[in-house]
Amino acid sequence: MYAIETRDLVKEFNGLRAVDSLSFTVERGEIFGLLGPNGAGKTTTIRMLLDIFKPDAGEIKVLGGTVDTHTKSRIGYLPEERGLYPRLRVVQCLTYLARLKGIGRREAKSRAEALLERVGLAEWRRKRVKELSKGMQQKVQFVATIVHDPDLLILDEPFQGLDPINVDLLKEMIRELHQTGKTIIFSTHIMGQVEQMCDRILLINEGQAVLYGLLAEIKSRYAQHAVLLRSDDSLEGLEGVLRIEKQGTDHLVFLRADTSPQDILRQLVARKATITRFEVATPSLEEIFITAVKEGAR
């Protein structure tokens, strides 16, 4: 059974198609990346999944059915536009939001306190939300997303505005949640951020699907026939090389179709060259995205 299933989703705003016949599924227990540049239709798609917007056309199934108030209780949503009650105390705010997800008062409070401890904000739990720094509020917001132990997490730009240490903390917590079987949807325009975490991705542009499937498969589909090399020695005269591009301290060596990376490595070893880096070049998601959009335009 799928965690999310959509078919031919359409949403228009003032005649502009924000989402255009989008169909995709998210399997239970996977980390799914919903990627695309700003304004691609990611947030609109998420809002339709959560029944915040009604789609103009198409079908949505979340956790096996239509989204009602009970389904909503099983979803944790971190919106891109962050928001908490500035006047409330941190624990009070978290308890209220958890109770709106159907958790009892006492349990909501104890979960909120445990999670605040986990993100290092235990001492701040009696402070008013507005007294917290922006980074702290971001962490409180993340706690609000998971405080009711949801089966499905939808995180819209989760690392936005966080320092590297807190990004690591959140990534670690997300991995833990994944290990306990939660389904996680990442939505971001910074594609490199989720490359190491996602199993499958949906890449959208102008409301339409550009790439969809297993991340590893997509990567190999767009793999260039090239190796990334770092060496102080001269690379001239290598057999089977089309051209060499310098990329910072590295060299991107494009190979002829009949040459394998192994052939290059063998030649380098034979030359007794000092090599500090040697790997098969795979393009970044961003590069794949740009290529795919260009291909689509053609």
Binding site: L50, D68, T69, K72, I75, P79, Y96, G102
Partner: protein
């Protein structure tokens, strides 16, 4: 998709607690009882004379040694009868009276001309523009003095007394079987002013509570909490919870006012025992509360819907201001309606949903309202509430997530038609 009552109660409880603990709300709840207490302490200080104090307010301005001079050209009034001898001092000629006035011996004097019997014309002289002088020469005492001398020896004393003082009016207010007769200021206060003050407080509470709803929605929108809320429960559940919670705040406020009012009245019985009568009969009171609740429901829904369309809390409040203005129309015609509580204007305003709650509340404060008017206005009001709840929830849902720009009429219309 059924409503989740647990979530509605969670919202209601949250709204109730966070609103009622606001300093502004605590202040406005406790202010009227505090003022009432102060008023009672002051009144209690004067003791039982409070009533007389108001009644005799006029004569307070007249100096205690209120001697009045007079020059009598008719001969009917000189010499003065023994009972008036000290108060009314005859002067043989105007010159002497004028001198006494200027010297400050008397606050004023009367000149009774020869043709007085034909014209009734008397001229009163006073010094400067002092009100005490004017009151001295044109008082009940002066009239009594003239009557006493005109009738002296011609009629029996009882008739003379009646001519001087033809009526001592006792006002008896008939209300719902209970009857009490008092002639003092407190009775008038309790049968007329208090109900109006009370109904106005009810009307104001409607808008204060609905205003909190509006403000809350605006803030949640501005602070972007709304998206989290809507991803947890349906807009209708959120709206229902807010209406319940803030309605409870308004009701609490009224109960506090009413309870303390009751206690204060009972506690200082010295003053209010004089009044004796409760401002309302029980039936009227229940009806007033029903109108309060319906009025609140209507305006809360309207304001939530309209308020959600604004992009900031302030803008939402401006948009909703229109409805409060409509509701206060009856207050503009207050003077007219007070004298004609069952006039055509008052009745029409009772049938129009936006003015019905405040109009009927006002009329209830002024006396009996015909059952037909109550029935029609209740039907219209309930129909309007059903419509507003239906449409309001839809507009609320659409308005909540439109940031940056206000939705157009076309978009609102589309939202209303969406199933």
């Amino acid at each position: 998709m059924g409503m989740n009552m647990k979530k509605i109660w969670t919202v209601a409880g949250h709204e109730f607690i966070t609103t009622i603990t606001r300093p502004g709300v605590i202040f406005s709840t406790l202010l009227p009882p505090a003022l009432g207490l102060i008023a009672l302490v002051v009144a209690g200080f004067f003791g039982g004379q409070a009533g007389q104090f108001f009644e005799g307010l006029g004569s307070q301005f007249v100096p205690q040694d209120n001697q009045v001079g007079y020059v009598d050209y008719t001969g009917t009034f000189t010499p003065p009868l023994p009972q008036y001898a000290g108060e009314f001092i005859p002067y043989a000629e105007e010159q002497a009276a004028r001198a006494a006035l200027i010297a400050g011996d008397i606050p004023g004097y009367l000149v009774i001309p020869t043709d007085y019997m034909a014209t009734g014309q008397v001229i009163g002289y006073t010094k400067g523009r002092g009100i005490s002088g004017a009151m001295a020469v044109d008082s009940d005492e002066v009239e009594a003095f003239l009557v006493a001398h005109l009738l002296a020896g011609q009629v029996d004393p009882a008739l003379q007394e009646r001519v001087t003082n033809p009526a001592k009016v006792s006002i008896v207010t008939l209300s719902e079987g209970a009857e009490a007769g008092q002639s003092d200021v407190w009775a008038i206060l309790s049968s007329f002013v208090l109900p109006i003050v009370f109904t106005m407080m009810l009307s104001i509470t409607i808008f204060v509570s609905a205003g909190f709803l509006l403000q809350g929605v605006g803030e949640e929108k501005e602070r972007r909490v709304i998206e989290i809320l809507i991803s947890s429960l349906t807009p209708t559940e959120l709206l229902a919870g807010k209406i319940l919670g803030l309605g409870a705040v308004g009701l609490t406020q009224i109960l506090v006012w009413f309870g303390t009012g009751w206690a204060l009245m009972g506690g200082v019985a010295v003053v209010f025992a004089v009044a004796g009568v409760l401002p309302f009969g029980v039936g009227t009171l229940i009806l007033a509360l029903i109108y309060f609740l319906l009025g609140y429901l209507l305006f809360a829904t309207l304001m939530a819907a309209v308020g959600s369309l604004g992009t900031t809390a302030r803008e939402g409040q401006q948009l909703a201001g229109f409805f409060s203005m409509a509701a206060f129309v009856p207050m503009w015609f207050m003077g007219f309606i007070m004298t004609n509580p069952n006039s055509l204007l008052a009745r029409i305003l009772s049938y129009f949903p936006l003015t019905a709650p405040t109009m009927v509340l006002l009329r209830l404060g002024m006396g009996e309202v015909p059952a037909v008017d109550i029935a029609i206005s209740l039907v219209v009001l309930i129909a309007a509430i059903v419509f507003c709840l239906w449409g309001g929830a839809k507009i609320f849902r659409m308005g909540l997530l439109t940031y940056g720009k206000r939705p157009s009429i076309k978009e609102i219309w589309r939202a209303l038609r969406q199933a």
